[in-house]
């Protein structure tokens, strides 16, 4: 798990439990990602954590064919995607699972979780192909 700093500790604790958690502003109701001290829309500093549905759609994607560093060498080709969550925020993820290389913009995706040596990462897979 990368860096569970004070802003995002709850996000990573939830991932350990295989839940995708988002901050929701108590001032204007906007869900936000990444987590932070105040709402970038209304500047309220009051927020609560809530469990996201884990459903989203592909806004854009790319197949990475040259690894950025040695630790990704065994993974290429892999898919990097921008996902629009049902709750509104946009995330970057890998597309994992069967058929990932056959993604199309607009495809429905759902969250899944990848256990790494250093923690649990939210990932997404295509709905219907997984």
């Amino acid at each position: 798990m990368p860096f569970a700093n004070a802003d995002a500790a709850e996000y990573w604790r939830s991932a350990e439990k295989e839940e995708l958690a988002l901050q929701k502003c108590k001032g204007c109701g906007a869900a936000r990602f990444p987590a932070r001290h105040l709402c970038p829309v209304c500047w309220s500093d009051q927020a609560e954590w809530s469990r996201a549905s884990g459903r989203g759609t592909i806004y854009a994607a790319t197949v990475v064919r040259r690894a950025p560093s040695p630790e990704y060498k065994d993974m290429v080709p892999y898919v990097l995607a921008l996902i629009d969550l049902e709750e509104g925020p946009r995330m970057i993820t890998n597309l994992v699972g069967d058929g990932a290389l056959n993604w199309r913009i607009g495809d429905a995706v759902r969250v899944t979780f990848e256990r790494r040596v250093d923690g649990v990462m939210p990932q997404f897979e295509l709905v219907g192909n997984g």
Binding site: P2, N5, P68, A81, L82, I92, N94, I105
Partner: protein
């Protein structure tokens, strides 16, 4: 804002270092070589410089790079800073320089950028440099690096506006043709569209020839009070307009992948200069990847939405065509080394405005547009430079 900085400053000197693989020079050395050439080009002496701006370096371990460079050059300026908005840094520095000159804080400001990025980086440093722009917690752990983030931008833009890989390839081909006419360009071997499409794939739809070079290179310019230009041998380039707009840093926070801050920054610049896109004679557009000048040409109003790809593919961006773009070869073929990439567009525009460009000289040279962006289409700065005071 209005026309507050119109005609407030002129660019009186420009200089480039040796470019390509220059292992016998450090990054600071490349900056110094470019600075010496720019000050000589301006007909000034080092003692005339009372301000210094620079950006950042991934190759050399210095904090406070502005002060470091001043120390290296033996300058003791009254104004000194490192300004970091990625590739937009040099253009933004020109804005800060013009404001400082207008406020009476300095009269001749040296702007430098450059790195020994081709020969001065270990593999580990090169990787961390490429990953540095991705969000460290929420992008980089997924194997996101600069080319793949721009791959996402290209994918969405192609989806929305029908830009094709062939049109993107035409950007790289045109840049190489211009670089072949530039004596100091890093890559001058001709390429064709088929070469770009067949080149090693990096992150779809981008292949290696869609990606900017990694060069050892430094650039420098001198921005001065217009009074200083009166006695100079070479004609100054007048700053008519400039605008910035910053919408995000990380791609996950971009408001859109089809409309960016360049439309706002260019509007501010056009309004300041009192001109419109129709008045622009040629453009130097930031081209870290082949998709980027296509987006920028549309955003700043030089082409309609979805039309800039054809502008390149049909040859209209050539130096002797309708609207020349990246007449020095851009970062795809002339040079890219940190923040120097954006600076070379400014240097080229000044030389074109003066009529010094020989075999690649544009015919109409009254008004140049320069657009630079940093991050992942994050920080935008548009400049309008011209030949005569307006």
């Amino acid at each position: 804002m209005g026309d507050s900085l119109r005609n407030s400053a002129v660019i009186v000197g420009v200089g480039e270092s040796e470019i390509g693989k220059v292992p016998h020079m450090t990054g600071l050395g490349l900056n110094a070589q470019a600075a010496k050439r720019a000050i000589e080009d301006a007909g000034l002496r080092p003692a005339d410089i009372d301000g210094l701006f620079t950006a950042y370096s991934f190759t050399e371990p210095y904090f406070m790079l502005g002060s470091v460079l001043a120390e290296y050059l033996g300058l003791k300026p009254n104004l000194c800073a490192s300004i970091v908005v990625g590739g937009a840094s040099p253009a933004a520095m020109i804005g800060h320089a013009a404001a400082a000159i207008a406020a009476g804080r300095a009269r001749a400001i040296l702007i430098c950028a450059g790195e020994n990025r081709a020969t001065g980086l270990s593999r580990d440093q090169a990787v961390s440099a490429l990953a540095a722009v991705g969000h460290p917690y929420f992008e980089a752990p997924y194997g996101a690096f600069i080319p793949s983030l721009y791959g996402l931008v290209a994918n969405r833009y192609m989806h929305e506006y029908g830009i094709t890989s062939e049109q993107m390839a035409a950007v790289a081909v045109q840049s190489r043709r211009h670089a072949a006419l530039h004596p100091n360009a890093h890559m001058r071997t001709p390429i064709e569209v088929s070469d770009v499409l067949a080149a090693k794939r990096i992150s779809d739809p981008l292949g290696v020839l869609d990606c900017c070079l990694i060069s050892d290179a430094g650039g420098a310019i001198v921005v001065a009070h217009p009074d200083l230009a009166k006695d100079q041998r070479k004609a100054p380039a007048w700053l008519f307009g400039l605008g910035e707009h910053h919408t995000h840093e990380h791609l996950i926070a971009a408001p859109s992948l089809t409309e960016f801050g360049a439309s706002v920054s260019s509007k501010i610049a056009y309004d300041m200069a009192g001109v419109s896109p129709d008045d622009v004679d040629f453009a130097e557009l930031y081209d870290c990847f082949s998709i980027v000048p296509i987006i920028e040409a549309e955003e700043v109003g030089l082409c309609g939405r979805g039309e800039a790809g054809l502008h390149f593919a049909e040859g209209h961006a050539a130096f002797d065509a309708k609207l020349p773009i990246n007449t020095h070869g851009g970062m795809l073929s002339h040079a890219h080394a940190g923040a120097a990439g954006g600076l070379f567009g400014v240097i080229e525009a000044v030389r074109q405005l003066r009529g010094e460009c020989g075999a690649r000289q544009v015919a109409k040279r009254d008004l140049a547009l320069i657009h630079s962006e940093g991050g992942i289409m994050s920080s935008h700065c548009t400049l309008l430079l011209g030949r005569d005071r307006r």
